[in-house]
Amino acid sequence: MLNISGDYIYQSIIQAPIYHLLLEGILFMWVIWLLKRKKINPTEEQPLSAKEQQQIIDHFEPKPLIYNGDSRDEGVEGDESSEIDWGTIDGPAGKYIEIDGTKYLNLATHNYLGFVEEPSILDETERCIRQYGVGSCGPRGFYGTVDVHLELEEAIAKFLNLEETALYAYSFAAISSAIPSYAKRGDVIFADEHVNFAIQRGLIASRSEIRYFKHNDVEDLTRLLNLQRKADLQNPVKAKAIRRFCVVEGIYSKTGLICPLKEISELCLEFKVRLFVDESISFGAIGQTGRGITEYLNVPRENIDFISGSLEQGLGAFGGFIVGSSYVVDHQRISGLGYCFSASLPPMLAGAGIQALKLIESNPQLIQELQNNCEYMDRKLRSLSVFTISGHPLSPVKHMSLKKSFGSRKTDKLLLKEIAFHVRENAKIAVVMPAYLEKEEKTLLPPSIRIAVNRLLKDNEMDDVVTALKEAANVVLSKPDLPDYDEPKSQN
């Protein structure tokens, strides 16, 4: 085959038709031209010489390690630093709280059922230290699972009549690890606009698309769900792959209002959306026997995929939990980051949690006492004309903001801070303003003073609180020179 003689080539050129030769000739010339022309490649740079590289390295001036003003979003309203120094406490923060040497009536810290000084819980904590020591010295997978953890998980699940619980060492970590373990990039999450910060961090970590609906507005949620359904119908292949979730809270820590869970759970059933409820405040605080918002609104718990709760607020212990069906919760044990890669809850704090649950179960009148106090406080607070009270009558968390703003957010905050300190100094009652990272929150509500009601307050003490607030407001708000917001009074 390779013995093609020159004669053969010569003959084939002679005998080929002219158009054929012309075409081949043109193609041949074109190929030569393509190969020979200079490549114009605008993105290719000349590599830098070693001297140029050293120059750049020498000129590199990093910004300081940290400084006021290097936060992410310059456009978000609010203070960079909204820290107020409320003082340092000493001793248990029970009915009374000791701040910098003086005792005050405590309406600042979350002690709804009054368990902070409950003797049986303290006894149980001591007993657990004598058996298990303080730390658990390992994550759940590596000998950090102590039998009290399993007991507490079972107790919570039995309390709510659900299948399984996953216990976390920190209540912030519970909900913020749970959401990203189910929702991934490409999924859709519908969340209330005023969800708490831990949920917001969980939503960011999930990388899903978040659609916020107006606070407690079922119509707005319906509208968003319908929009999603329309988009799904237009693209059924994509719709089959994305998961849909809805995240709400039982009692919102930012507003104190109760979520319309019955309507929302029915909507979720209809639109095939999985529902997560965060009951950090409502667990142990509302419902006939303290079983939370599902008991209060009579919503079947099987319709909720998981309920997350906190042991740090009403129950006098520490940690958080996720409770639901085995199918959903078991996944946490291998994919919840705060569960797998963290040391487990110290056994003594789990023991405290077990004792707290036992107390709630055997003494439902504790819940009733708390609810009576919440309702009484609500009635009395609403008589104050200068404040707007935000919060359901049964919610132990109540927010009081100024009915009429005095110019700017900064001024309102300073005024409320003065009112809070006035109440403290004159009536010996401790209240706080909630600490928000204003540049990081999704939504900002008007500045407020937060009252945390507990079971131990007597009626006359609550009357004192209301009187003190009224008086403080009178004194502070009628001052002729209100703080100028160019020179803030808060300093270190």
């Binding site: 820290e83 902070v116 058996q131 020591g133 699972t145 060492a169 913020s176 797998c340 890669f341 963290s342």
Partner: protein
């Protein structure tokens, strides 16, 4: 473990089927070696609660028996996991004087005197100006890293960093570049690239460049090359974030971590972070840095404004154990524990190497991983050793690559030489039967003497 979903019709599947393939078919078969419940203090000895499975590990039941084992699985480096002794007594006393639950965050009247006391003590311990503490070690990384970084920052992080660091970095919005584990050439290349080329597309210089490393890596047992990193940091004007979760208290002649170990100046490391779970027998974490840095971090930290403050008995345990380690309680107990841990680690490692096992990591680190590679071998070793009264930790996917499974020994100052010898005998016998003694490195001739290590 459940196999059926209560609601299927019309819902998108909650778990992707291929994701759960490994869980259902590989992990499930061997999962009796993990999540074993205990019912005693996790000290030198451990009491396991025995479980049996009638259906190949889909579900477990308790047989009612308990097994007492030598504990080589818990993070108890200095042996402070005790239910008696000065630390436990201090914690119990604190229950009555300070309560158990504060019920608030540090920014909302949850800041107690023992929190401030702990902050100052930690700063003194690690050798920096100031510190803040948090109620959970994992949360210390995940909630504070987003406050230090923004989207104009470059982070160069070691490839074997812990999940909490990775979560904190991902949610911060910074650009993350990974360098090969403990490899200084790889790190320098990334640093040069970062400084010279700047941000992608615009080529604007980065606001800050961070190097994020750990002191002791818990899966590799390696100690970070701190002096070289400090040199690189000074050359390229970067900042160092050092996570000393496993090295604080456990490494260094005074137990002050890797800075102590390498005799480096702690002020050269911009941000020191650590946890109290491992060497102090408590829970929680800290970040230490310059006074200016801590002041601004306090006003921005998610944990300060939204995370519950540390429980009093836990804080007291840390204060108590830290005082002992520093020798300020008037005894030499701290020094004794540090020396014992160091001796145990070196002795155990040298003995294992002499037996022919493939051991990773630095000779001085208290974490001793032995490579076994196959998940089945790991499961076998863990099960058999429990039968012989020794509790070990086996590590597999996803903590390590799929075919690089290992057994990890956690040394403790509460282990005696006799315990270690017993463990070595049993392990060597089992290791023979699964052909794990296959190291091709030269084996040390002559006896390894405990006192001379």
């Amino acid at each position: 473990m459940s196999i059926t979903s209560p609601r299927v019709q019309g819902y998108t599947q909650l778990y992707a089927s291929f994701e759960s393939f490994y869980t259902r078919h590989v992990y499930r078969r061997v999962r009796d070696g993990w999540n074993i419940p205990i019912c005693s203090v996790p000290g030198a000895h451990l009491t396991l609660v025995e479980r049996v499975s009638p259906d190949h590990n889909w579900s477990f039941q308790y047989s009612g028996k308990t097994i007492k084992c030598i504990n080589l699985g818990s993070y108890n480096y200095l042996g402070f996991a005790e239910n008696h002794g000065p630390c436990a007594e201090d914690s119990i006393r604190t229950i009555r004087t300070q309560g158990v639950c504060v019920g608030s965050t540090r920014g909302e009247l949850g800041n107690a005197i023992y929190h401030d006391q702990l902050d100052r003590l930690v700063a003194r311990f690690v050798g920096h100006e100031d510190a803040i503490t948090c109620g959970m070690g994992f949360a210390t990384n995940a909630l504070n890293l987003p406050c230090i970084l923004n989207k104009n920052c470059l982070v160069i992080s070691d490839e074997k960093n812990h999940a909490s660091i990775i979560l904190g970095l991902r949610t911060s919005g910074a650009t993350i570049r990974v360098f090969k584990h403990n490899n200084m050439q790889s790190l320098e290349k990334r640093l040069r690239d970062g400084v010279i080329n700047g941000q992608p597309r615009t080529h604007l210089p980065w606001d800050k460049i961070f190097i994020v490393v750990e002191g002791v890596y818990s899966m590799e047992g390696s100690i970070v090359r701190l002096p070289e990193i400090i040199e690189l940091k000074k050359k390229y004007r970067a900042y160092i974030y050092l996570d000393e979760a496993h090295s604080i208290g456990a490494v260094g002649p005074r137990g002050r971590g890797v800075c102590d170990y390498w005799n480096a100046n702690p002020h050269d490391v911009d941000i020191l972070m650590g946890t109290f779970t491992k060497s102090f027998g408590a829970a929680g974490g800290y970040i230490a840095g310059s006074r200016e840095f801590i002041k601004i971090l306090k006003s921005r930290s998610h944990a300060e404004s939204y995370g519950g403050s540390m429980s009093a008995p836990v804080a007291e345990q840390i204060i108590s154990s830290m005082t002992i380690i520093m020798g300020e309680d008037g005894t030499s107990e701290g020094v004794r524990r540090i020396r014992q841990l160091s001796r145990n680690s070196r002795y155990f490692r040298q003995k294992l190497k002499q037996l022919g096992f493939i051991v990773y990591g630095n000779d001085d680190s208290p974490v001793v991983p032995v490579a076994l590679y196959m998940p089945s071998k790991i499961a076998f070793i863990v099960r058999e050793m429990i039968k012989r009264g020794i509790a070990l930790v086996g590590v597999g996917f996803p903590a390590t690559p799929l075919v690089e499974g290992r057994i990890r020994f956690c040394m403790s100052a509460s282990h005696s030489k006799e315990m270690l010898d017993h463990v070595l005998d049993e392990f060597s016998e089992l290791g023979d039967s699964i052909m794990a003694r296959t190291s091709t490195l030269p084996r040390q001739k002559g006896e390894v003497v405990y006192e001379n290590v």
